[in-house]
């Protein structure tokens, strides 16, 4: 019973996150405001990061899995063997940590870009970009 429930919970959550990705994508492609597009981009990367973390999760019999951190120095190889079968996958966590830092770095730059865009056009709507932005200017 409990296993069925766990499967149900995880599949529902993953599909929730895929819907999340789709909603964010919808926002990126259809909203007129740059800031809104940007907020949707943040949601987009967040949803993908969480999806990655779901992949690394595991279910352990009779108990909840442990985080990939050893509580104390292991005294015997047997303890390490046990730890190996009870902790969740550490690699997706490391990947997601890297991805979070990178997306934060890129977002900071994009915020600067939007500021300068506002300085030029007086608005954050992309309509300004469509009408006036793309024309070539010959000196």
């Amino acid at each position: 019973m409990s296993e069925v429930f766990i499967q149900l919970a995880f599949r529902t959550s993953i599909i929730a996150f895929i819907v999340n990705i789709a909603i964010a994508m919808y926002g990126v492609y259809t909203r007129p405001s740059l800031i809104k597009k940007f907020i949707c981009l943040i949601m987009f990367t967040d949803a993908i990061n969480l999806f990655a973390l779901f992949i690394g999760f595991r279910v352990v019999n009779n108990t909840y899995p442990k985080p990939p951190v050893l509580i104390r120095e292991p005294v015997s190889p047997g303890e390490l063997e046990e730890f190996k079968y009870i902790a969740v996958d550490p690699l997706p966590q490391a990947l997601v940590l890297t991805a979070i830092v990178i997306s934060l770095a890129v977002f900071m730059f994009v915020i600067g870009l939007i500021l300068v865009y506002y300085e030029h056009y007086g608005t954050t709507s992309i309509k300004a970009m469509r009408s006036g932005g793309v024309e070539e200017v010959f000196e």
């Binding site: 766990i6 599949r11 595991r58 990939p68 050893l70 550490p90 997706p92 890129v106 500021l115």
Partner: protein, 270 residues
């Protein structure tokens, strides 16, 4: 406009449907099973394992071990990405002037006092999680981001002026940041240099001794596991992330007066 919206929504819902079908009905993607990848198990097994000294990194926190030892080069490039982002913002707003003599404003006194009490606590917490990154959950980036929260608190509660009073200038921060990145590179290259001097094989980013190379960073400080270079990397990363995020926050919260000159400057264009 509306037609396009409907089109985008339709195609995205198709995407969701197809991926959901794959996951839900067929169960193709591995979710919530008792098995994780053998690679992940290898990391769990070798991360702190004195019995396999060629594969270990003597770090109790497996994620720290992966980030700075097994996949250290990734993290180095990631730090560089943060650097590139700061340089790019600096390029975008180049020519600004930091004006110190404007009147500081800020929120009410109660909020300020509360912030004053909170700040030392946050500093202690951040330093603890950064320097104990090899023992407990945490590490350089976590500590740095937590420290940067202080800067954002000061900007939000006291205004940017207070950061200037405390001696923060974006240029100084960029210099500290660059020096720390160079320090990180030096720590990463040290094994290679030692290998040159001793005329043995050694690798960039090497931490513990390997099968074909005996060079090893210190793994213990008295009794506490130091996890070799992971400790140094964490300290550098703390400074790098703190200064980097603070620089970005300061640059993006510059007042109009300060930015005025930046947007007036015209360079000779093509």
């Amino acid at each position: 406009m509306i037609k396009r919206d409907v089109l985008v929504a339709f195609s995205l819902s198709l995407l969701v449907l197809s991926i959901s079908l794959i996951i839900w009905l067929e169960g193709y993607i591995r979710i919530a099973t008792p098995i994780i990848s053998s690679l992940g198990e290898s990391y769990l097994y070798y991360s702190y394992n004195p019995w396999y000294s060629n594969y270990t990194s003597f770090s109790l926190n497996v994620v720290s071990a992966i980030i700075w030892d097994y996949r250290g080069f990734d993290t180095f490039l990631e730090t560089t990405v943060l650097m590139a982002s700061i340089i790019a913002i600096y390029t975008l707003l180049r020519g600004f002037e930091e004006k110190v003599f404007l009147q500081p404003k800020g929120l009410s006194t109660i909020t300020k006092t509360a912030t004053k009490i909170v700040i030392p606590l946050i500093i202690a917490y951040a330093l603890a999680i950064a320097t104990h990154g090899q023992l407990t959950p945490g590490g350089g980036f976590q500590g740095g981001a937590t420290l940067a929260v202080i800067s954002s608190l000061i900007i939000a509660v006291y205004s940017l002026e207070f950061l200037y009073y405390m001696g923060y200038r974006s240029k100084r921060l960029v210099v500290i940041r660059g020096l720390c990145l160079i320090g990180l590179i030096i720590v990463a290259i040290t094994p290679l240099l030692i290998g040159f001097i001793l005329n043995t094989k050694s690798y960039i980013f090497q931490n513990m001794s390997k099968e074909d190379s005996f060079i090893s960073m210190p793994s213990f400080l008295f009794d506490a596991p130091l996890a070799g270079s992971i400790f140094f990397y964490n300290v550098f990363e703390l400074l790098i992330v703190f200064t980097g995020l603070t620089t970005a926050l300061m640059l993006l919260s510059l007042r109009d007066v300060e930015l005025k000159k930046a947007f007036e400057v015209r360079e000779v264009y093509e």
